[in-house]
């Protein structure tokens, strides 16, 4: 029943990248010196693990924060949950999932260390399960840790919290950060690389790559080869990323999930025919079609009445629009203007 269903079904297009092994760009690894080189992994104390994360300069790819600060400041309390985020719900992107799948032991070791610091009652790995266009089946366990499959329609990132007990705390940590933590503990290796999905119909050899942080986008595209001349190059996810003009000047960071080169962009939006598909797609049940019109006219007072502040910017409305209108971009822009106007006090 479409009365209650929110969100959209996306063609995931993960296939060649997810099952292929990760391509590692050759670079020199950096190592750090620590004060406790001879202690076995089981006997590491809480402070020592945090020190390891600090020395290795690990950045959590799910939110861009330093892992050591996150581990130090988080207090889960009683009955807390540790969630390992490997939910790649955007099409093409599979960098976190492939990290989990191709290096399960290392990720499991990282989770074990993380558990020692946070001492949660429950730990699980969250993965997106609705990937229909592949024969690949999601593993039931990563090491000893259960994989909770996050189902449902597109904006699934917010649903990682659905398996936690009521009224208890939870913390989300990225899967690739766990991998780097394990490397730091085993080999005292610094985090100098990041996992990135290179995909799109203009890419000759689409796959997941591990490249040093700060590699330019052009170099990464050269690594995978170009099929034809791309018209759009996107940095980030396929639903929320931004298109870039100068691939030789743009560099990747730990939070970059993917680079997508498309041979053809979207041209010539036609006028809105008011089919109301955007209203149905919205995961927050906003009246998107009306909001777009209000945003175009700049009627901010009415937009507040329509709860524009609740928009999460997932882009589902633009995806379903048969007229190819940039619905989400219009509303997000108006939202920013609204915030500015509120600061200035004109609204």
């Amino acid at each position: 029943m479409s009365f209650f269903v929110r969100g959209i079904i996306l063609e995931q297009k993960k296939e060649p990248m997810l099952t292929r092994s990760t391509l590692v760009m050759r670079h020199e690894y950096e190592y750090f010196d620590c004060d406790f080189p001879d202690i076995a992994l089981d006997e590491l104390s809480r402070e020592q693990i945090i020190e390891l994360a600090r020395l290795a300069e690990i950045v959590d790819e799910s939110d861009g924060k330093l892992l050591c600060e996150k581990l130090e400041k988080t207090d889960l309390g009683e009955g807390g949950t540790l969630i390992i985020d490997a939910v790649d719900d955007e099409p093409y992107i599979s960098s976190q999932m492939s990290g989990c799948i191709h290096h399960p032991e290392k990720v499991a070791l990282g989770i074990e260390l993380c558990e020692k610091v946070l001492s949660p009652e429950k730990t699980y790995v969250a993965m997106y399960k609705h990937i229909f266009d592949t024969n690949f089946s999601i593993p039931k366990k990563i090491g000893n840790y259960k994989v909770e499959k996050i189902g449902g329609r597109y904006p699934a990132e917010g649903r990682v919290y659905r398996h936690i007990p009521k009224g208890k705390n939870a913390v989300v940590v990225g899967a690739c950060a766990m991998l780097h933590l394990a490397r730091a503990a085993e080999d005292s290796r610094k985090m100098t690389s990041c996992f990135i999905t290179v995909a799109g119909d203009a890419i000759l050899n689409p796959r997941n790559v591990e490249v040093p942080v700060g590699t330019s986008v052009e170099r990464i595209i050269q690594l995978c080869g170009l099929n034809e001349k791309p018209e759009v190059i996107i940095m980030g996810g396929s639903m929320t990323g931004r298109s870039i003009f100068e691939p030789e000047n743009e560099v990747v960071g730990p939070t970059t999930r993917g680079i997508i080169a498309l041979s053809r962009g979207y041209h010539n939006p036609s006028p809105c025919i008011g089919c109301g598909r955007c209203d149905h797609a919205c995961p927050k049940a906003l009246s998107v079609s009306t909001m777009r019109k209000l945003a175009e006219f700049g009627d901010f007072e009415k937009l507040t009445r329509y709860d524009a502040a609740l928009c999460i910017g997932c882009g589902a409305c633009s995806y379903v629009c048969p007229s190819r209108i940039d619905v989400a971009a219009t509303i997000i822009k108006a939202k920013k203007q609204m915030e500015l106007a509120k600061k200035e006090g004109t609204l």
């Binding site: 919290y161 639903m239 298109s243 025919i273 633009s318």
Partner: protein, 419 residues
């Protein structure tokens, strides 16, 4: 590499369906109906359809030329042109179709801003106006299974349509199966119920038409028809005769479901379906015209923005955790009247003018000041109230609002987690 890259807004993956595919679906669904019309009435039916397309496309091109717009190749005028002849008998003159198309394009569509902005269904209004102007031509039907002359005088044998005899209170002399197959006199597209329903189901399966619209119209409509029969027959027979004799089934699939003029949300579509069912039934039961459906559709189009508003209000409550009290009984900040809104605008003007001409042009500056002073002195009382009392009130109430809103958000996150 650099020069060829283009900018594109955030979702870089899009659905394969576009407006063009939706419109093509509708045209594909209309083709079998024209084939059936060709079978019953000969090549004149096809020519009427082609002339409908031609008139609508040419008229919209003329409109684009007059308005100095780019001539677009969208298929919506073609669909309007295809639907209008199907609502009329096969003997109708070409100029009637031209007039209906002219009304649809020049009165309904273009003045409101072209495709996507029309308030009423163009085909319905075109047909309704033609029915008012030439009722004798639009409501006199030829007997089926005869080849009509393509041009010239109409020499075909005419017959009484079942809808007309129903309006007189007589039981039609046709069998129900004939009415389903379409071999009864009537509008050339709407009589063959089997084909129309199949094409409608095709559209619903393709999701070009939301299934809620036709279902929520046809179910209450047939229920009303069964409950209040006009003829002396069993309610089932009466229902069959009534339902299969008009343009209701054709209209439910091809006109009611038009995306521009129908409500956007499912619940709104549901309400619109019921409204149009009641209106169509009332037109049929009390009105003298045979085809009341077009007028019912126009009435529904009037209400469709209201249904959208109602849906938005319901969702507004639901987004706050279903607490009516919070939404409706909370203190709202005092709404600014029009005069109050003017005041900050005047101040801004004054500032801007002062910036533009700082010291050199003293004259302009004084002018601006004079202007603003005049405008302010017109409403001195309001300014005082705005400065002293209302601002404080508003700020206090805003604080209250924020305090009230915070717990609701917490509840929401909990709910989401629970879901």
């Amino acid at each position: 590499m650099n020069e060829s890259l283009m900018f594109q807004n955030a979702p870089h993956v899009r659905q394969s369906e576009s407006v063009r595919t939706m419109m093509t679906d509708v045209i594909i669904a209309l083709v079998p109906i024209y084939v059936m019309a060709f079978f019953y009435y000969g090549p004149r039916a096809l020519l009427l359809g082609l002339s409908g397309i031609l008139f609508c496309v040419v008229f919209s091109a003329i409109g684009a030329l007059v308005l100095h717009e780019k001539i677009s190749f969208d298929l919506t005028p073609a669909i309007t042109g295809l639907v209008i002849p199907l609502l009329m008998p096969a003997t109708v003159d070409y100029f009637v179709i031209a007039a209906a198309c002219a009304v649809a394009i020049f009165v309904v569509k273009l003045p409101f801003g072209g495709t996507g902005n029309n308030l009423f269904n163009p085909a319905a209004v075109g047909f309704a106006s033609a029915a008012i102007c030439w009722p004798a031509k639009v409501f006199s039907y030829p007997a089926p299974l005869q080849t009509l002359e393509i041009f010239g005088e109409n020499t075909a044998a005419m017959a009484q349509s079942p809808a007309y005899s129903l309006a007189l209170g007589a039981v039609p002399e046709y069998e129900v199966l004939d009415m389903l197959l379409g071999s009864v006199p009537g509008p050339m597209g709407a009589t063959n119920i089997f084909v129309v329903a199949t094409c409608g189901i095709f559209l619903m399966v393709r999701k070009t038409v939301n299934w809620i619209t036709p279902v929520s119209f046809l179910l209450p409509y047939s229920l009303l028809l069964a409950l209040f029969p006009r003829i002396e027959a069993s309610s089932f027979d009466s229902l069959c005769y009534e339902l299969f004799s008009g343009i209701a089934i054709f209209g439910a699939f091809f006109m009611l479901s038009e995306p521009v003029t129908s409500p956007k949300r499912d619940f709104g579509k549901f309400m619109a379906g019921i409204t149009s069912a009641v209106a169509a039934f009332l037109f049929r039961y009390f009105g003298e015209l045979e085809m009341g459906f077009a007028y019912a559709l126009i009435i529904m189009n009037v209400f469709s923005p209201l249904f959208d508003e109602i849906c938005e209000e319901i969702l507004h409550v639901l987004r706050r955790g279903g607490k009516l009290k919070k939404v409706f009984f909370e203190k709202k900040p005092k709404e600014k009247t029009e005069k109050e809104e003017k005041l900050p605008f005047v101040r801004v003007l004054k500032k801007k003018k002062a910036e533009e001409a700082p010291a050199e042009a003293v004259e302009e500056n004084t002018e601006a000041e004079e202007l603003s002073e005049e405008e302010i002195t017109e409403e001195p009382v309001i300014e005082v109230s705005f400065d002293e009392t209302s601002e404080e009130e508003i700020s206090e109430e805003e604080n209250e609002e924020q305090e009230e809103k915070e717990p609701s958000e917490d509840e929401k996150t909990e709910e989401e987690a629970a879901v």
